[in-house]
């Protein structure tokens, strides 16, 4: 199974790990992105994530398909959250399970990087001083 979703509720990463479990898999890899308390030296109070949801879902689904073709990953899931997130909240979760470890480690990195590069998702950071700013990918949010 592969599954990609944009969600408006807190991400349950443990459920996603269960979802990719399969008795033929010996390795599971996961990545979580969380809201940090600072960005380029500014104190962050929260992030408002928004997305072009239908396209983000189809783009992430395509990325999972590419991961299957490149790494042989048959069990993978990705969820990206939208809405108002506080510091520490999970914004993205990627999980992949494979028979051996190299494939899932490589696949998770690929899926995370491709999603950050291609999925139409944006974040508006809120700072302690009350200001807000649209974050530009590449401006320190790796």
């Amino acid at each position: 199974m592969i599954r990609a979703a944009v969600v408006a509720h807190p991400i349950d990463f443990a459920a996603m790990v269960s979802e990719v479990a399969h008795e033929g898999n010996g390795a599971t890899s996961m990545f979580l992105g969380t809201v940090r308390s600072d960005h380029d030296g500014k104190d962050v109070t929260g992030i408002e994530y928004s997305a072009y949801e239908e396209m983000a879902t189809s783009e992430m689904t395509a990325i999972l398909g590419e991961a299957r073709a490149r790494f042989g990953v048959e069990h993978a899931a990705i969820e990206h959250r939208v809405g108002s997130l506080d510091v520490g909240d999970i914004s993205i979760a990627v999980v992949a399970a494979t028979p051996h470890r190299d494939a899932c480690l490589n696949a998770v990195r690929f899926i995370v990087e491709a999603t950050k590069a291609r999925a139409p998702i944006w974040k508006l950071e809120h700072y302690v001083d009350g200001s807000r700013e649209w974050v530009n990918a590449g401006s320190g949010n790796r």
Partner: protein
């Protein structure tokens, strides 16, 4: 023909709207949509070559449009 233009995030802020209906001549391309959008108040701050998606796939400026297409201007993405 009619196409729907979607605006998101910083572009929606710049233009003060998230959607726009456009009536275009047959054979119009993404370039035509961009030309129309640039006539809107606030559009001077759009980058010279914004990313565009047609029907939820990234598209070129030369991509031909059809009746009912959904054309989205995609600000620099920042997911993750």
């Amino acid at each position: 023909m009619t196409v729907t233009v979607l605006l998101f995030a910083s572009y929606a802020d710049l233009l003060g709207r998230t959607t726009l209906g456009l009536d275009l001549p047959a054979g119009a391309t993404v370039e035509h949509v961009l030309s129309e959008v640039r006539l809107l108040p606030g559009a001077s701050l759009l980058p010279p070559s914004p990313l565009v998606a047609v029907n939820r796939s990234y598209a070129l400026r030369t991509t031909m449009l059809s009746e009912g297409d959904e054309v989205a201007l995609i600000p620099p993405v920042a997911g993750g």
